[in-house]
């Protein structure tokens, strides 16, 4: 079935079921406006058509609340929207149909005061104790400063799921963990060493990103987007800039697109190197940890030398990039790619042949393809459990529309699979960097910005190193941001951790966690 076919078929089905859909065309996608009463039924039909639930968010627009849900199939994204009155907002939940929508709806409930009827879990999520019970920070009448107490009390009364029975005990961990790592709370129920249940409680690093985005200029928004999750600064910045550029209707110069591609692949390689080392470290295989962290350091030093920032922050700006490559830089990067590939080809066999590592990584942290699909997992977490998706291939954007590469796929669903997917992705990235350098032709790196019409909106979708990133942007008058919502891949992947640790032993939690490596900051916003 061709891509445009499924939307036609799907719309026909909805019409037959008396679900009216008003269609609008947005710069990057189509918008389907649906009556709020049909919101859940719409999800039922979407699931039957095997659409993937991608992201959900809301927006307060002049006395009304827009509730959005994005779906995808075969690389075609549609944005669906229901509109309710802000006075007593209610909407049937889609989480009953799509488990992936659950936390997102709870976030919307906490930030906008929308009641999702029939939602399987009405507990607060992003809300802890920093704003009052009937306050909703993303409503327009809520001031950005809020009305916080001098000291925000901890959220101690959160109703965790309880387990009872002989020998069952609880291990509460966090928010502050033992290592150099972001904060979050994990509640384990265990018998002996075996994990019976894990519940995540996140939201500790909620910094009000969505709220402080409002009213920003495009440049200031790009800077903020680059700090949604520091390890994904290129990915988020690119997604936000794509959304802003599409909303404005400007095309970035080809050279800028290629440079963005190089930045994004460099970010992917750096993070995968770091994670592969950390996974080995969590099973006490220090040789590999030291080798990978050495390679990562060398890679970051090249970033600093060539692009002027080790993590590549603020290199992507609305309209293009503010960095460039000389011929000498290109030669340096190419040599570095060859060297990295050679070094990895020496290190990987030494790792592969190590039986103690095999013992710990194989079969640990198993995520079945069914659960991976139901939760809508993306990136290496999905790929390691057979979820064959990659925005760079499925909905290609410049420069990936002119590149060829293979999407890494594994099917065992364990820690080892997630490890190997990363290795394959590094190899693919090295090839892509080479292709992009070969295509670099002289030219501009920055397009001139134009003020977009008030109300223009768009979705920026890119493949970050953790997987698909969605950025939604709507402009106000005067070149100001009215709404920014970034959906980090972690938002879809975190729930998978609760599943994949089951029946593992507590001491294997760190390596299971590292193999998924969700971003707390990208989740909590």
């Amino acid at each position: 079935m061709s891509a445009s076919n499924w939307t036609t078929d799907f719309l026909n089905q909805l019409t037959a079921a008396a679900i009216t859909v008003e269609q609008f065309s947005l710069p990057s996608t189509t918008l389907w406006q649906i009556e709020s009463g049909h919101w859940q039924q719409f999800a039922d039909y979407a699931l039957a058509q095997q659409l993937r639930w991608v992201a959900g968010w809301a927006e307060h627009v002049e006395g009304r609340l827009f509730i959005n849900a994005c779906f995808e199939k075969q690389g075609v994204y549609v944005l669906s929207r229901a509109i309710v009155n802000a006075a007593k907002p209610e909407l049937p939940s889609q989480a009953t149909v799509y488990p992936a929508a659950s936390r997102s709806e709870r976030h919307t409930q906490d930030m906008f005061g929308i009641h999702f009827t029939g939602h399987p879990d009405h507990r607060r999520w992003t809300r802890h104790q920093a704003w009052a019970k009937h306050d909703y920070p993303l409503r327009k009448d809520f001031p950005v400063q809020g009305g916080p107490e001098t000291v925000t009390p901890p959220d101690k009364e959160y109703p965790f799921v309880k387990a009872h029975g002989e020998g069952v005990y609880e291990i509460p961990v966090g928010p502050i963990h033992a290592g150099i790592i972001e904060p979050g709370h994990f509640r384990f129920q265990a018998v002996g060493e075996l994990i019976l249940n894990l519940e995540e409680r996140l939201g500790y690093v909620h910094k009000g990103i969505e709220k402080i985005a409002e009213g920003r200029t495009p440049e200031a928004l790009a800077r903020l987007a680059g700090r949604v999750s520091g390890d994904t600064t290129v990915g988020h910045c690119w997604a936000a800039c794509r959304a802003m550029e599409q909303a404005t209707g400007i095309e970035i110069p080809p050279r800028a697109a290629l440079l963005r591609g190089i930045l994004a692949e460099r970010e992917r390689v750096a993070n995968h190197l770091g994670d592969m080392g950390a996974i080995c470290n969590d099973v006490a295989f220090i040789f590999a940890h030291m080798q990978f962290s050495r390679l990562r350091e060398l890679w970051l030093r090249t970033n600093a030398a060539v692009f002027g920032h080790r993590l590549l922050m603020d290199r992507i700006v609305p309209g293009g990039v503010v960095c460039d490559l000389s011929e000498a830089d290109c030669a340096l990067i190419e040599r570095e790619c060859v060297r990295l590939s050679k070094e990895l080809s020496e290190i990987m066999p030494a790792i592969d042949l190590n039986s103690s590592l095999e013992d710990r990584l194989y079969t640990a942290g198993y995520l079945s393809p069914e659960i991976a699909a139901a939760l809508g997992t993306v990136g290496y977490v999905g790929l390691a459990s057979g979820q064959d998706r990659d925005v760079r291939r499925d909905a290609p954007y410049p420069p990936y529309d002119q590149a060829s590469f293979k999407v890494a796929l594994e099917d065992k669903g364990d820690v080892a699979s997630r490890f190997w997917v990363r290795y394959k992705e590094i190899n693919a990235s090295l090839k892509l960097i080479k292709q992009f350098i070969a295509q670099l032709a002289a030219g501009d790196t920055l397009a001139e910005w134009q003020t977009p019409p008030a109300g223009s909106e768009s979705l920026g979708i890119v493949e970050g190193w953790r997987g698909e990133i969605i950025a939604y942007i709507r402009f106000d008058a005067g070149n100001k941001i009215a709404r920014y919502y970034p959906r980090d891949p972690s938002i879809l992947n975190w729930p998978a951790l609760e599943k994949l640790v089951l029946n593992n032993i507590v001491p294997d939690f760190p390596v299971c966690n590292k193999s998924l490596n969700g971003s707390y900051s990208g989740n909590d916003l």
């Binding site: 800077r223 903020l224 520091g230 922050m313 909590d524």
Partner: protein, 169 residues
């Protein structure tokens, strides 16, 4: 196993030399506490790192301090798992309101004498996030801060310099 040893031998030692910064450099880092630290902890300090709301960029660079190029442990600076074992708290991020109590408790749990180093622009002044309904802004708005290492994020080199400044020269 032979492959492994071969790689270790051919890699060699990559650790780099570092000098303890001079006094005027230290002033730039805003250290007011060096003398006390010299006296109290000659030769070794234990650090508890606390992410109080960062974007995780600062953590990546703090991690890098333990890679073989910087290998910060050789200077007697080590990261510990509990604030009760720590001399220094290395705090990153604007302090999110949801982390405020946790940070205060960590501070209380750290035995005296103790020092707080605010790492990164967010910890120094709120950075891109500032003060809002969700963020307390700078670390100094929540607990007393003795030293600031600026940068977004500070490079491992800047962190090394700052932390070595805490130690006896």
């Amino acid at each position: 196993m032979l492959r492994l040893f071969k790689k270790i031998i051919t890699t060699g030692v990559v650790t780099e030399k570092y000098k303890v910064p001079k006094d005027d450099e230290l002033e730039k880092l805003g250290i007011q506490i060096k003398r006390h630290i010299d006296k109290q902890f000659s030769g070794s300090i234990a650090i508890r790192q606390v992410d109080a709301g960062s974007c995780n960029g600062c953590e990546l660079e703090i991690h890098a301090l333990n890679n073989p190029y910087y290998d910060i442990e050789r200077f007697g600076i080590h990261f510990v798992a509990s604030p009760r074992h720590a001399d220094v708290l290395l705090v990153t991020g604007p302090v999110s309101r949801h982390m405020q109590t946790a940070l205060l408790r960590t501070y209380e749990a750290t035995p005296n004498p103790k020092w707080v180093v605010a790492v990164g622009d967010c910890a120094a002044c709120g950075g891109e996030f500032g003060v809002s309904y969700a963020s307390c802004g700078a670390v100094a708005n929540v607990i007393p801060v003795d030293m600031v290492i600026a940068g977004c994020p500070p490079t491992p080199h800047a962190l090394m310099k700052g932390l070595l400044g805490l130690m006896k020269g």
